[in-house]
Subunit: 264 residues, 2 copies
């Protein structure tokens, strides 16, 4: 059995459990981070810890688990199971008796064809509550993604009531037009760790960044659309709701992806 | 230790736990019901089972737990702990390995003064995702209620972007004006079991029901405002965000409450 962390201690994964009778569990009053461990190295740890703080602040979730404790717990887990590559998940539940867990799975990765041929995505009308915070209030994302899968799509993009295509259920979203990269403003979407690197890479490659999201009306006019996340890196979007999108700037997506991964 | 139900079996409450590594737990892909046990009798069981089905349907959550199994589990739990009066909670988590729990606490009840003097409530701007479904996607309700408590309030009322005061974080909401009862249309709010009885009681007492919610602009003009829930029955609202509301129709609220409780 895999190990896990519970409140700073290494335990069997079967002990990484949430009490059903706990009010904060019932109300999904919790925040999380998903990170990568590659060759025993915890990728962008400081960024993830910073975002964990931000998520807690956004929902007024207080807890006693320090960055040092979280970091040493991650290292204890890596050592306990001799982990080289993995996708890890930190979960903190708030309330009078806060809980802190780390669990992990095999390193999430995707077929090379997803990058060379792009992926199909679907659209879902819905707006997240507190979009910047990474909380367990994920039902909309679950439903949107299940619907996407039923349609044979890899991801669902969330569309707000003004027709702005803001982000995926587990990814950020971008359009390239000429030498300009378009994406939603920070306050409307999750502050993706990979998003930070993607924007940095785009600037380094000579793109100007406009914090203006693609919309339903102009999606098909971009030279390329792509999504990004910790596990995906940057991945081109080939079709939206069955309609093929332009490929012209796919080489740029690939360049951004390579540069972004270099900084790990 | 209290007992609980896990997938139809009586277990210790410490075994009513959710695996942190389960995707459906992570995404809050679950539905619940909160019900009352009074004198060993399960109040409005059929209504709760019907709503549980409706919640599952709303979010496409399939599970193998039949009504008969849920009912016999409730009876097993009542027998195992010799329960006379309690507030019970049914939880069903979806996904490839669905989970079914029942836990319970002491019967929730409130001081008589809450009914004779009314309660203070605060306002919270926010709209629920899939308002009719009773799911674990409750973060907004948690945050709104915590904010209300910090202000010394008993409940927070959710206000949509059009200024409609739709419902509380754990209650339905109504205004009385003359011989008319105002409340939000079904599709905008949780289909409260007590709401059904409240509307029935109002009609029996000679009120006409208008499915038009009170708004920020007219809250203070109602002869009485009140909230209802399984644990509260019908409870008058004395003040909204610190502003005193009219008392004129409080006797009617009290009559509705008595009649509603009679049908248990």
């Amino acid at each position: 059995m895999r190990s896990a962390i519970r409140n700073g201690k290494v335990v069997g994964e079967d002990q990484a459990v949430l009490p059903v009778a706990c009010r904060e569990v019932q109300y999904s009053f919790s925040v999380y981070e998903a990170l990568r461990i590659v060759g025993g190295h915890i990728v962008h740890l400081e960024d993830h810890l910073r975002r964990l703080h931000a998520s807690c602040r956004d929902i007024s979730l207080g807890h006693p688990f320090s960055d040092a404790m979280i970091e040493s717990s991650l290292k204890d887990l890596i050592e306990a199971d001799g982990i080289s590559d993995a996708s890890a998940r930190i979960l903190i539940v708030g309330g009078p008796s806060p809980l802190f867990f780390i669990t992990y799975t095999e390193l999430l990765s995707y077929p090379e064809s997803f990058y060379s041929e792009g992926v199909a995505v679907s659209l879902y009308r819905g707006e997240r509550f507190l979009p910047q915070a990474k909380t367990s209030n994920l039902l909309m994302q679950y439903i949107a993604l299940e619907e996407a899968k039923r349609k044979g799509c890899f991801e669902a993009l969330l569309v707000n009531r003004r027709g702005m295509v803001l982000e995926g259920t587990r990814s950020n979203f971008y359009g390239i037009s000429g030498k300009r990269l378009y994406t939603a403003p920070d306050e409307l979407v999750l502050s993706g760790i990979t998003r930070i690197s993607v924007l940095r890479a785009a600037v380094e490659l000579g793109y100007e960044v406009s914090f203006v999201p693609p919309t339903l009306a102009n999606l098909h006019m971009f030279d390329a659309l792509f999504i990004s996340s910790t596990s995906m890196g940057a991945m081109p979007v080939a079709a939206v709701d069955g309609r093929a999108m332009k490929h012209d700037a796919w080489p740029a997506v690939s360049q951004i992806c390579s540069l972004e991964r270099k900084w790990e």
